[in-house]
């Protein structure tokens, strides 16, 4: 650990441009659809038109005889060729219910869009055309669409053997909420409906599976986030040893959780490749990407507080409509929403209970924020309700309820051990950034002119770098650093990249530690045969675990270089400094030797200069952050997150009260993710997440009709923000390093969605405060806002 006690000045903390950015900008990067193997056939999937139906009969005979078709499978056919897909996170491991997930539906379909049959053909067009020739007879069943209806007495059951539609109920209760509500000066009861929405990477999913009969090896190229855990899943599903499976993650055009696995098409391409002996490609269509859901909660909130704005009690019993239970890790977001209460506020009495119900909508998958964005939205609406009732400024209400900077590490009611922060100072920074007092003056003037300007503030706590026990959502990772005889460095890591800058950032760490240039380092990620075992990217973990593991591995090599350089320069090891590709004596800077010469000596003059070190110059290290604790405490609570980045957002909006349309005027944020390795990427992550928060706040919604038909099946019906919808984002940083991670990093990437969405929601309410408007559902589309305005006028 001597590594971090020495000053790092060159690369860490610097906004280095992405080392291979030119490949992306000039179109030379290989995305999954660029992977072309000889003899490839193309898969198309027939999907259920019904939300809920029995499958009476599937006949693929005509499809098999169609032009170009090589093979076709029904659910019954596939059942003998593929085991159920192992759950990424099985609810049964947490006391919930579980269900088998098959690559193609057998007996029954439980959501519109569920794969029912599939074909592979010479071209994707042939495969699509052949789908029309598959005969399926359905017997439609009553669809369960709404979360409330799913949990009601006598509801139609999706899994008859369950006895109800509840996947899991998880309570997080601390203190005595009833007593505290009794004693509170004020009590407010409210409801809040959070819409179903997801993340839509511009590159959809896609896979190329290739079974080699002679070696009995499966090579799986995929737009995937977690190659090693996926290898486990594919091996289980296909009855192979993990050693027979090689997963290679292609360059990703965004992931955001969508490309975490458990999707039926992953094993299905492999099944077809084994069946046909041909490589099988499947590229997702946007209509398919849009099916994958997330969030959708109905919150019932009761909050008790004092006249001076201190919150004493919070109850939130909410239903999460997780759609059909898939093998993807989406359902766990509902758990995390409940676990994350009450974010960064000290509330002595809390009673937060999630009931996750299954319905006939498509399954959720993980999506950036992983449920924590929902907690932040509820908490920030609560703080503004308290401010509105007490007449205390919303910023001041937050100040009075925040965890104090001297109280860290702070154990929350649900047992999370929040590492570090200074929320009060961060709030001041943001208020300064937007010149809050003058904003309020401008708002008052605008109101006199009949305009509806609103200012919204939102705090956001983002637990990062999760370790979920019993799953391969794991809180450590592994990196290998190798210096060749040429003095060049190869970094292999179990952390993967969604196309962001975690690769360059890790190179910066390694280059600093070894005293070489950034251009001396090559990084390889995402190949299970080449890279050390790791878990990929999720939960803002890349720097926390991958970066720190790389630092440790580079530190090992540094020690060897120093020893050998000392021998070559006939000097003390303590006198050696590495930098600018040179090993130099601190006491006599004239005496130096190129690091490349030292490296060459390790390999070529081993028995002369390197007797004291073990060649080669290679080390594989694991980083396990402190502050993860799965031994239940006296209240049965565990601590699955090592770090807690935080942010404070401010939004300024204008509401057109004649149409309900919200126009974003300003968005500002102060962000604290601990030590910043590369500001460019941290800011890029935050900007992207804020844009998602704008969509979440104003337009994005996956809508279904009452029969379970999916409506939002194109970007004309699912409205993502475009550049012109976004104001420029004003950003400041604060750094309170985590005391529990090596570099003091906390994880960046997820923060932004919940904060921006909450700040916008608060700003809209602030704008409409003179009209007494409360909007009880998200997103704040013009129609929803106009409804609320008209309701307030009645």
């Amino acid at each position: 650990l001597s590594a971090i006690t020495e000053p790092h000045t060159s690369y860490v903390g610097s906004s280095e441009r992405k080392h291979n950015g030119d490949r992306f900008l000039t179109g030379r990067v290989e995305y999954i659809n660029d992977v072309v193997l000889p003899g490839t056939v193309h898969m198309a999937v027939l999907r259920s038109p019904h939300a809920h139906a029995r499958i009476v009969r599937v006949d693929t005979t005509k499809a098999k005889n169609a032009p170009g078709v090589v093979a076709a499978l029904s659910g019954e056919d596939a059942r003998s060729l593929c085991n159920p897909i192992p759950h990424f996170i099985d609810p049964a491991a947490f006391g919930g219910k579980t269900a088998e997930v098959r690559v193609l539906a057998v007996d029954k379909v439980i959501y519109q869009g569920q794969p029912v049959a599939a074909v592979v053909a010479a071209t994707a067009g042939d495969a699509q055309a052949a789908l029309d020739l598959i005969e399926v007879e359905y017997e439609p069943l009553q669809a369960v669409v709404h979360g409330g209806a799913a949990s009601a007495e006598g509801a139609t059951l999706i899994h008859e053997e369950w006895g109800d539609n509840v996947v899991i109920t998880v309570p997080f209760v601390e203190g005595d909420v009833d007593a505290a509500l009794e004693q509170a000066d004020h009590v407010i009861e409210e409801t809040l409906q959070i819409q179903r929405y997801s993340s839509q990477s511009i590159e959809p999913r896609g896979y190329v599976a290739s079974w080699d009969e002679s070696s009995e090896m499966l090579t799986f190229h995929g737009a995937v986030q977690n190659p090693h855990p996926l290898r486990f899943v594919l091996a289980k599903a296909l009855n192979l040893d993990e050693g027979q499976v090689r997963v290679i993650a292609s360059s990703l055009g965004g992931a955001f959780g969508l490309k975490m696995h458990g999707h039926p098409e992953e094993p299905l391409t492999c099944v077809f490749s084994r069946l046909t002996g041909r490589p099988v490609k499947w590229i997702e269509d946007r209509r398919e990407t849009l099916l994958v859901g997330g969030r959708e909660h109905s919150h019932c909130i009761t909050v008790g507080f004092t006249n001076d704005g201190k919150v004493t009690a919070l109850r939130d019993h909410f239903i999460a409509n997780i759609g059909a239970l898939g093998a993807t890790p989406g359902w766990g977001m509902a758990f995390l929403t409940a676990l994350s209460f009450p974010t960064g506020y000290k509330i002595p009495n809390t009673d937060c209970v999630v009931t996750a119900v299954t319905t006939n909508k498509a399954p959720w998958n993980a999506t950036r924020g992983y449920g924590k964005e929902g907690t932040n939205l509820v908490m920030e609406r609560v703080m503004d309700m308290v401010a509105a009732r007490t007449g205390i400024d919303p910023a001041e209400v937050r100040r009075r309820n925040f965890i104090g900077k001297d109280e860290f590490p702070y154990k929350t009611n649900s047992g999370l051990n929040v590492d570090s922060g200074d929320y009060h100072a961060l709030l001041d920074k943001v208020l300064d950034l937007v010149d809050y007092d003058s904003l309020r003056e401008q708002q008052a003037k605008a109101r006199e002119e009949g305009r509806h300007i609103g200012i919204g503030i939102a705090f956001e706590l983002t637990p990062e770098a999760a370790d979920i026990p019993g799953s391969l959502v794991t809180g450590f990772d592994t990196s290998t650093v190798r210096m060749d005889p040429s003095g060049k460095v190869l970094l292999l890591t179990g952390v993967t990249t969604p196309g962001s800058g975690n690769d360059t950032s890790m190179m910066q760490i390694v280059a600093d530690e070894l005293g070489v240039l950034l251009s001396d380092v090559t990084v390889i990620q995402g190949d299970t045969t080449v890279c050390p075992y790791g878990f990929g990217h999720f939960s803002g973990r890349s720097m926390v675990v991958g970066g720190n593991a790389a630092l440790l591995a580079a530190g090992d090599i540094k020690q060897k270089l120093v020893k050998v350089a000392a021998a070559m320069l006939e000097a003390d090891e303590a006198d050696i400094r590495l930098g600018q590709r040179m090993a130099t004596l601190a006491s006599d800077p004239e005496k130096s030797i190129p690091i490349a010469d030292v490296a060459y000596a390790v390999y070529s003059l081993t028995f002369i200069f390197a007797k004291g070190v073990e060649p080669p110059l290679e080390s594989t290290r694991v980083y396990m952050p402190d502050n993860i604790d799965h031994t239940p405490d006296e209240k049965g609570r565990i601590q699955p997150y090592p770090t807690y980045s935080n942010a404070i957002h401010a939004a300024v909006v204008e509401v057109d009260v004649e149409t309900g349309k919200v126009t974003l005027e300003r968005l500002a944020v102060g962000h604290d993710c601990g030590t910043v390795i590369n500001p460019l990427y941290v800011e890029g992550q935050m900007e992207g997440a804020i844009a998602m928060g704008v969509g979440a706040g104003l337009t994005e919604e996956q809508r279904y009709d009452d029969e379970g038909n999916f409506i939002s099946n194109s970007f004309k019906r699912y409205l993502l923000p475009r550049a012109k919808d976004m104001p420029s984002i004003e950003m400041v940083h604060q750094v309170t390093p985590s005391p529990f991670t090596l570099l003091g990093v906390k994880g960046a990437g997820e923060a932004g969605i919940g904060g921006a969405q909450s700040a916008i929601a608060n700003a809209v309410h602030d704008a409409l405060a003179p009209l007494g408007v409360t909007v009880r559902k998200m997103p704040l589309t013009p129609a929803t806002v106009l409804d609320a305005i008209e309701e307030a006028r009645r």
Binding site: T123, A124, G125, L720
Partner: protein, 275 residues
């Protein structure tokens, strides 16, 4: 990925186009820019046996025609914007069409008119400017007022074998136009549009609404109104079949229709061109 094979015709003239259309058996789709037809074929929503692509048929010009402006059916939004004779209010409409440069360079007024999507700019704007559509078939042609052309959501007066060759817009009438479009966000289809001609007396001469109903709504009751409030009241008193799509229901569109009409009126009286 387009399912299966189809015949593809690229006629080099209007006559060839009409005869190609007449010669095809079964379902045929006519492409002007292709921004609707091609995605629908990709999604298998539309499975024509033949496609007649008009882009080489010489219908891509904007010209003067006896006091009217004739806009060829394959004139793109960009093409209209660049045409010196392009009617000002249609230019305002074209500049705001959702989809950015790619759609502006590819999408056409004629194609959008024939697609007759209630959630689009072109149909109601053509009714607003009192355009006439020239429909051609093998061996004949006819003209029809825009107000009579749109027959329902995605339905027009085009008969089998007929294609739209030109849109005739009366030369700039006395007065000023305002065009106002309301949408949810940059990528949203129009939720409601209004095209308003205000005469030299400052009163409404003609007002049409788009997006609110299955077909463009000509608000005759607004004629003569001199205040935005009166315009809105006239809209409120007008019956029309509500239009609902995946973004907004008919009730919401009806509620804001009067406001949007009032804004088009205000745009016309303020600066002659709405936003």
């Amino acid at each position: 990925m387009i399912k299966g094979a189809f015949d593809y015709h690229t006629p080099a003239s209007l006559e060839e186009a009409a005869s190609a259309l007449a010669s095809v058996d079964g379902e045929v789709s006519v492409i002007s820019g292709g921004t609707w037809v091609v995605p629908e074929m990709t999604h298998g929503v539309r499975r024509p046996r033949a496609v007649v692509d008009l882009r080489r048929a010489g219908l891509g010009t904007v010209r003067r025609d006896n006091g009217a402006v004739a806009i060829g059916t394959t004139v793109t939004y960009s093409g209209l914007l660049a045409a010196p004779d392009g009617p000002a209010v249609l230019k305002v409409m074209a500049s705001g069409v959702t989809g950015g440069k790619q759609v502006h360079n590819q999408g056409t007024l004629g194609g959008s008119a024939c697609y007759a999507n209630p959630s689009s700019d072109v149909p109601a704007a053509l009714v607003g400017v009192d355009a006439t559509l020239r429909l051609v078939r093998d061996g004949g042609s006819r003209e029809i007022a825009a107000a009579d052309f749109f027959r329902g959501s995605f339905k027009t007066a085009l008969e089998p074998g007929e294609l739209l060759s030109e849109i005739l817009v009366p030369a700039e009438p006395q007065g000023r136009f305002g065009y106002y479009k309301f949408k949810f966000s940059e990528s949203s289809w129009p939720i409601a549009t209004a095209t308003c001609l205000v005469g030299s007396d400052g009163r409404v001469a003609r007002l049409s609404l788009g997006g609110v109903s299955t077909t463009p709504v000509l608000v005759s009751a607004a004629t003569g109104a001199g205040e935005a409030g009166d315009v809105a009241a006239a809209v409120a008193a007008t019956e029309f079949e509500p239009w609902t799509d995946g973004l907004a229901d008919g009730g919401y569109r009806r509620r804001i229709a009067g406001v949007i009409a009032g804004r088009a009126f205000a745009a016309a009286t303020r600066d002659g061109e709405g936003s």
